[in-house]
Amino acid sequence: MSSNTELPTHYVAPVKDAAVTVDAVKVDEKPASLWGDAWRDLRKRPLFWLSCAIVFVILLMALFPTLFTQVPPNNNCMLSNSNAGPAPGHPLGFTFQGCDIWSRIVWGTRTSVSVGVLATLIGSVIGLVMGALAGFYGGWLDSVLSRIGDIFFAIPYILAAVVVMSVFSNYRNVFTLALAIGGFAWASTARVVRAEILRVRQADFVMASQALGLSRFRTLLNHVIPNAIAPLLVVSTLALAAAIVAEATLAFLGVGLGSDVMSWGADISNAQQSLRTAPMALIWPSIALTVTVLAFILLGELIRDALDPRARARR
């Protein structure tokens, strides 16, 4: 090596000058997680607390109607009170049959909530099972289950429930009604779950659990489904709102529960006859129905927004 050729020199920063200083490390801080971020976002939104409060009151009304009204909804209806305005103890006035409107609204909450919750539970469970199996195992099972889903998707579920309820007209109760709605409304849930499972299936932890010797089914149950549950929660909250609307619509169409059961849909439909003279008998239960549905839709959309960083950017 000749000594007269100059070696190219690089500037090397003195170590002490370039020392990186870290402000602080919070070792105790919990790592950011999907649910943690979502909760931090939700906590700050007044609409979230408003819809939670409405849902709480609705659930309370469904469980303990006597907390809100002492007037029985069906007994002591007096025809002399037909379509009468508000009176002491009867804040919203009377229906065409002379029944107390407020009491009927309070007692009708139970029908809406129980049918809505049961139908959503049925729809979500079927949707979760079908979507998870189709998405995780793929192949022919996916083809078969997805085609079955397409078949159910092609039948509008309110119309299917009309057929079911008119076929089983002798067995009308909360369970058959919930089964009629939930048994036909699961297809869209299954699609959402399947798409999410397809995404989660690619994750490294799935491969790791397989490498550790966990069976396929155990992997699905313990690792894939818990990580794919977020969209299901959103879809189920929105489905609950849709099921409450479906119950009221079926009652309006005359294929809901029997006339001895309080239902907002049936009350709205009955009040139609005297719409010209006593519109409030129609408007009050309509407001109850709309506020309930709105509360669940708001809750579902806010949770969806909180779980989806892209949606947060759109605000």
Partner: protein, 309 residues
């Protein structure tokens, strides 16, 4: 393109067979003998019952009955109603009315959704946007029969802008009130999709390119942004066609529009099982056909879709 059409039609066959079989199986589960029901309180002659059962293939196993029913559908015969009318005749009378109502409602839905959705997206976070989001939430939450009753009470009975019911006069101009109710009940979902879609499109490279070429805003928005934002809105109205059908049933019942939905509603009130099934089947066939047409339109609009296996 031909391969794409064939593939779509082949995918449709199991859906069609499955959904008709499902509805048919539900009726088969119906308790009671329909032939005996025809005679009311009288005890019929067993020979007559046997003859009628043979005529309607009721003595055959379930799957054979379904096969005859399917054969009828493919020959263009949708069956008979409970009162003995041919479903085809009823359809010929009612389908044009429902068609007019649906076209007007979809038109109102799209005009509202596109205009309000686009303005909301362009003014994201401003007062107009927030107000429209709140209003759309209320319309999503309002069940259609509530909306219909409110419109009937305020727009027709109180303010007298429209006739409260439609009845025998059901031309294009007579259907405004039910069409507005149906359109407005559908617009909220489409409007929100349109808003999200326009916001996404505004961030795309080609929009920046269009602006940097010096194109004015009044050309970029309609030509480059709107056209590309429409696809999710159109997809959604095809998959939500079922909602339109249920909505049409309810609005027709409330405004007494003599369409297919109203016929279905009257049949439910009278518990006429066979009629209900015929008309629900008609709705399912319509749904499947509409989705096929929209799928084919996509293949035409967007070449990428054609080649996806």
């Amino acid at each position: 393109m031909l391969g794409y059409i064939l593939r779509r039609i082949l995918q449709l066959i199991p859906v069609f067979l499955g959904s008709t079989l499902l509805i048919y199986a539900l009726v088969f589960a119906m308790p009671g003998n329909p032939i005996l029901a025809l005679f009311g309180d009288k005890t019929p002659n067993p020979a007559v019952v046997a003859a009628l059962e043979a005529q309607y293939h009721l003595d055959q196993p379930f799957i054979v009955q379904y096969f005859y029913y399917l054969l009828g559908i493919f020959q263009g015969d949708m069956g008979t109603t409970f009162s003995g009318q041919s479903v085809n005749d009823v359809l010929a009378r009612t389908l044009p009315v429902t068609g007019r109502l649906a076209v007007m409602a979809i038109g109102i839905e799209f005009v509202l959704a596109i205009i309000i959705g686009t303005i909301s997206a362009l003014r994201k976070g401003k007062i107009f946007d927030n107000a429209m989001l709140v209003i759309s939430l209320i319309f999503v939450a309002l069940p259609i029969f509530v909306l219909a009753f409110l419109a009937q009470y305020f727009l027709a009975i109180q303010w007298g802008w429209f006739r409260p019911t439609v009845g025998a006069q059901n031309g294009w101009n007579d259907l405004w009130l039910p069409a507005i109710v149906l359109g407005v009940s559908l617009y909220a979902t489409s409007m929100r999709l349109m808003r999200g879609s326009v916001i996404d499109t505004l961030n795309q490279d080609w929009v920046r390119t269009a602006y940097s070429k010096g194109l004015p805003r009044r050309r970029v928005i309609p030509v480059h942004v709107l056209r590309n934002s429409l696809i999710p809105v159109i997809t959604n109205s095809a998959t939500n066609f079922g909602v339109l059908l249920v909505g049409a049933t309810v609005t027709e019942a409330i405004f007494n529009v003599p369409g297919v939905g109203n016929t279905l509603f009257q049949a439910t009130l009278r518990h006429e099982g066979p009629t209900i099934v015929s008309f629900v089947t008609v709705f399912v066939i319509l749904y499947v056909l509409v989705n096929l047409v929209v799928d084919l339109l996509y293949g035409l609009l967007d070449p990428r879709i054609r080649y996806v296996k």
